[in-house]
Amino acid sequence: MIDFSSTAAAVLKDDRPPSQLELKLRRRARVSAFVRYTLLSVVGLIMVYPLLWMIGASFKTNSEIFSTPWFWPQEPTFQGYIDGWQTSTPYTFGRFFLNSMMIVIPKVIGTAISSTLVAYGFARFDFPGKKVVFAILIGTLLLPDVVTRIPQYLLFRELGWLDSYLPLVVPQWFAVEAFFVFMLVQFLRAIPREMEEAARVDGANTFQTLIYVVVPLLKPALISVCLFQFMWTMNDFLGPLIYISSVENYPISLALRLAIDSTEAFSWNEILSMTVLALTPSLVVFFMAQKYFIEGISTGGVKG
């Protein structure tokens, strides 16, 4: 934890012959860096190799997949992708991708809008009962989903929403994901109010202030919210599993599960190819917007 490297650098600028202690510190800094790099590389390999292997395996033939642990395919082939795309259903994998988008897009939009409104309300206004409601919001961060899941199912069943995307999407328009509201409130608290007050003095009402002043300032945090909601929705399995019953409405997660159940024995390359495709949107989004994820986690602390 001590920054030996800067000590060593200071020592190097000196013209005196290094003392015993200085030599010791310098050596210790080198050894420490070496140990850290080695450790980080070994762990890094363990972290990344399964993913590399999966991508490589998706271009292998079935017989090659389980013949060598090396990830690079000997005779690269797209056959896994071609066969996997067709699926064992009357629909192609493209259909399931579209279905996933039909859930993700309205969910992300709803989350962003409702969380912004609510966070603005909490962060910038006083109203009767505010403390209680905010305490409940914090409390629900810890409330496990299992307790509410069954009655929610019964409610949506009463409403006739089963086998549609409404149960997955509509609650998000009511800021049910307390975590996002909390994150935006935290972010807003750190922003000075002067610009908003100036806008109010110039005659803007609170809603105009929100749209023209607060939202632009909130942009980085809002991007984090959208990214996390995108990821979580792409990763969500239990929600679709409970609510979606017809194959034509399946999102990617259910389609993948169908694939492992129906093509058990000999089409590993098909399944691994579709697994790669299923992860691609998340990976692309992650690599495009890494810094927002890290920021989002550091400001709010993310489950996961």
């Binding site: 934890m1 001590i2 920054d3 860096a33 850290r36 450790l39 980080l40 762990v43 972290m47 399964p50 993913l51 292997w53 395996a57 389980f66 060598t68 642990p69 409702s114 309300g121 206004f125 006083d126 109203f127 009767p128 009962g129 919001l137 409330l143 496990p144 299992v146 307790v147 899941r149 069954i150 009655p151 409610l155 328009w173 009511f174 800021a175 049910v176 509201v181 908003e196 609170t206 990821m231 990763n235 399995f237 409970i242 990617i252 997660s253 993948l256 599960r257 492992i260 691994l272 299923a278 992860l279 998340s282 992650f286 994820f293 986690i297 550091s298 602390g301 993310v302 489950k303 996961g304």
Partner: protein, 294 residues
């Protein structure tokens, strides 16, 4: 903001309050009610008093087993994951070239998190002839029966979640970086060894995030579903049949909504009890800067 009605903020918060009542509060109360009923979706819920709970605790061997497996899972996964995340965060908290590359590499598995795709991948990596066994036999070890053997199956799920230590790590890293560097300098001038500095300076200062991570990871681990559902289907011999799987089966396969609600409430009670114990104990070990008690 002066001049506005004191109810103005309420309008902005209204969506949340409606959502809370509709999708959280009402389901919360009704699930407690349902846990005292017999409800198969066909006829109206029938009040049966504490029957469901008595059945769970006296007659249901599956529940016993599932509860035990859940406890073992949570109490191995959470400490392992947190220890690993903290360890890697301390190694990463150091100015090295290319450090961001490592941070990204460690974080990728977590962002793909609970996705089915990763569970599918795990299923193939730990298969009898899968990647892990190929590497083991290549190194001269014996292949391990990861999923077929009840002794190992749960541990395989644990490994999956420990592999995804990235979110906890990022939070630890942020905390480590906010520790006042002058404290380290002072201690090292006094001749403190690195492990003493870690033990007596770093660790106390990051107890708030240790506490935060502990709570979040515990609540999450108790709800593990995707891993065992996809990788082992709860087997073999129910060795990975965690409570959320049992609840799912009772509710959405057997349509025994009342019984499933009772299991859900027991799970909820366990999580809440442990959370309260953690909050209570935190007074003794969590250090908040500026808090006079410490």
């Amino acid at each position: 903001m002066g001049g506005d009605s004191k109810y103005l903020g309420l309008w902005y918060v209204a969506p949340y309050i409606i959502g809370l009542l509709l999708f959280t509060a009402f389901p919360f109360v009704s699930s407690l009610y349902l846990s005292f009923t017999d409800y198969d979706l066909l006829s109206a819920p029938e009040w049966v008093g504490t029957d469901n709970y008595e059945r769970l605790f006296t007659r249901d061997r599956t529940f016993d087993r599932s509860l035990r497996v859940t406890m073992i899972y949570v109490f191995t996964t959470v400490p392992l994951k947190l220890a690993f995340a903290l360890f890697i965060a301390t190694v990463l908290n150091y100015r090295l070239k290319g450090i961001n590359l490592f941070r990204t590499a460690y974080y990728v598995p977590s962002i793909l998190g609970g996705s089915i795709a990763i569970a599918v991948l795990w299923r193939y990596i730990f298969a009898g002839n899968g990647l892990v066994n190929m590497i083991l036999t290549g190194l001269g070890f014996e292949a391990v029966n990861w999923f077929g053997d009840p002794q190992n199956a749960l541990f395989t799920i644990t490994l999956l979640r420990v592999w995804q230590f990235g979110s906890a790590m990022v939070i630890f890293l942020a905390a480590l970086q906010s520790v006042d560097k002058s404290l380290y300098e002072a201690a090292s001038i006094d001749g403190a060894k690195p492990r003493h500095i870690f033990r007596y300076i770093t660790l106390p200062l990051i107890t708030p995030v240790i506490f935060f991570n502990l709570i979040m990871q515990t609540v999450q681990a108790f709800q593990e579903f995707n891993g065992p559902f996809i990788i082992t289907q709860g087997g073999p011999l129910n060795s990975t049949y965690l409570l959320p799987l049992y609840i799912y089966d009772e509710a959405f396969r057997s349509f025994d909504m009342g019984y499933a609600s009772a299991i859900a409430w027991i799970l909820f009670a366990i999580i809440m009890t442990l959370t309260l114990v953690a909050f209570w104990s935190s007074k003794k070990w969590v250090y908040y800067a500026g808090d006079k008690r410490n």
